[in-house]
């Protein structure tokens, strides 16, 4: 193809197909280096980088906003890397940005998969950049083994929040009845933890019966189908629906609506997306938990930035500051309006200097 283009330049006639192919090539060249970056004018300050799965879900889109807000607050260059669910691309993009900045960078990464964390940390340590990981990393990879470059790992335990939502649901049901539960992908750690929390709450409430637990793979479409089948199978026995995330919870609400029962059977989700908060305001959803991705996107960078600029020395911090569970916000009809006004209607206000403010204990691996 290149030969054809060259021969075209040398005077041979260019066919229409060749022009299209060339245009296609140029198009692809624009797409592949998906590093959205601005010229590095503030070269003395570290470039701050968020590496996330995609910008197509509300969760990571909000994450990205938090990152941009932090970067603006310190006047650093901000770069967003998107893995699109591809581990190789995620690692390669991070290596590219390390090379571009010469290691003068702070990276806040939600690794696409747990094993990805190791090559990312290795590359960053070699280049001298500082890294904060969130959600996924191998259990035997610890920040204190990579002082000072691997600053911290942040995660959220699904157990207490899965349990808190089940308790919210059971309270709405008046302490008795039958519930059905929609789970996430069976092998996902958050799905396993949230289910564990649900089971703990059920064990403590013997009057509430778990009619069925089905895996809907985090998907609204699948959740709608499963809920429809349940409405046939159990009918009025269902007095509550627990879902492991908001997408599935909202789909369950729609299935109830088609049955004329929306708002009558309480439903809970987890994640705290905007539509879920709105559904709580309308009384169709009983509760959700917000992980505050705005905080994750900004604070992950703030912690790394503070370490990189010498505000604190990671090596001297206790282990519960290096591998910690963050704090989720439980939203029910009591605080939904306030939460909506402060976090969704307005840009959330964060104190980026309060870096350990949401530490709720060291991560436990069993």
């Amino acid at each position: 193809m290149v030969n054809k283009l060259i021969s075209g330049a040398l005077g041979k006639p260019i066919k229409r197909r060749d022009i299209l192919k060339g245009a296609g090539l140029i198009g692809m060249a624009g797409v592949f280096p998906a590093i959205i970056t601005r010229p590095a004018f503030a070269a003395d300050k570290p470039t701050v980088v968020n590496s996330i799965r995609s910008l197509s879900n509300p969760y990571h889109a909000t994450w990205n906003k938090g990152g941009a807000a932090f970067a603006k607050s310190v006047g650093a260059d901000y770069v967003t890397l998107v893995t699109e669910g591809n581990s190789e691309k995620g690692i390669a993009d991070i290596k590219a940005i390390l090379a571009k900045t010469g290691g003068n960078a702070v990276i806040n990464v939600d690794p696409n998969d747990s094993p990805d964390a190791r090559p990312i940390i290795d590359a960053a340590k070699a280049a001298g950049a500082y890294v904060v990981t969130q959600w996924n990393k191998p259990a035997d990879l610890h920040p204190w083994d990579y002082d000072p470059n691997y600053v911290a790992h942040i995660s959220f335990s699904g157990v207490p929040y899965g349990k808190a939502m089940a308790e919210t649901l059971i309270k709405k049901m008046g302490g008795k009845g039958g519930i059905v539960a929609l789970g996430g992908i069976e092998s996902n750690v958050p799905a396993i933890e949230r289910k564990k929390g649900l089971m703990e709450a059920l064990a403590a409430n013997p009057d509430v019966k778990l009619l069925d637990y089905q895996v809907a793979n985090w998907s609204a479409t699948e959740a709608l189908e499963k809920t429809n089948a349940w409405l046939t199978q159990f009918g009025d026995q269902i007095t509550g629906i627990w879902a492991a995330n908001d997408d599935m919870a909202l789909a369950a609400v729609e299935a109830l609506r088609a049955d004329g029962r929306a708002g009558k059977v309480p439903v809970t989700g987890i994640d705290g997306i905007q539509l879920a908060v709105e559904a709580i305001q309308k009384g169709e959803l009983a509760g959700t938990v917000a992980w505050d991705p705005y905080w994750q996107g900004g604070m992950g960078l703030a912690i790394g930035y503070a370490a990189k600029t010498g505000v604190f020395d990671p090596a001297k911090e206790p282990k519960e500051h290096r591998e910690f569970y963050g704090k989720g916000v439980i939203i029910t009809d009591e605080n939904a309006n306030t939460y909506y006004a402060e976090n969704i209607a307005a840009e959330p206000k964060m104190d980026w200097n309060d870096i350990w403010g949401r530490v709720t204990g060291q991560i436990q691996y069993d």
Partner: protein, 333 residues
Amino acid sequence: MTLDASISPSQSAKPTARRRWRIAAWAPLIVLVLLCGLITLINPNFMTFGNMVRISQAAMIPLVLGLGATFIILMGSIDLSVEGGLTLSAVILSMLVLNGANSNAFGMFGILIVLLVGAGVGFANGVIHVRLKIPSFMVTLGMWFVGVGAANALLGGMAIRINDPMIRSLAIERFLGFPLGVWLALFCLLIALIIQNYTRLGRYIYALGGGEDLAALSGIPVGRVRILAFTLAGVFYAVGGVLAAAQLGLGNAQIGTGRLFTTVTAVVVGGTALSGGQGSVLQTLVGVLIVVVLSNGMVLMGVPPSVQIGVQGLMIIAAVALSIDRKRMRIVK
């Protein structure tokens, strides 16, 4: 079912092959009946009117998507842009009708625009496929990502709630006990049947699938038929997008996830050959019902979640194995 009599319109076209074809063409329907019987034995709730309504609700979107895909598969091509067309349509619809994000309220006009968008996506598929001679597999794979990507770009990762009562009525309002969306899907089936059996385009599509060289030699405008078929399929995907948005009450970029697999499975399980030329939209209806009844039934029968996906896979192999006509096949790739 009253549809039985016309289950395989290809029969009339091949009088000599009639006897051999009979069992193969009826196999999917037999499978469906057996499946319904088995589930009813285990859980009698299956055969209630309420559950029939729920099955029809679950079947309406795969049916509309499957109708579009049937025309493409009948030509011996494949269309992977199902999710792209559906997602883009659903997202654009959610932005045009009364919604929670902007002040648009185009109502019916919004639906027309969405159908045009679907037609445009399909038309682009067809033109690129025919004029640049790129295999349909690659063109539509690309268009899948273009569609989802465009939907992403429009929404920036957010979801838009649909408040338009007309759109929501497709999922909520009922006529004779069935949601309006189900009637819309049946109306699409009727249109597809008419196109398949009584229009030149429909007959040409069969001719192309049976042998494109012969069709071209006998003066059929092959390129134009292909472009039209892809455009038609795009319109069906757009209808699927409208229904999906109505059902979930929102438009987001993940609304199409997983639908391609269901669509192609339903078409193939219904007995439409991937090699083209054999099958019909009514067989797709049977295929859709098999897939939907199976997933509904497994929940009713209490099959553990981890086993369900495996059972679905076995079901596909079994249904295709029953409906395939081995005598006419020399090579299997």
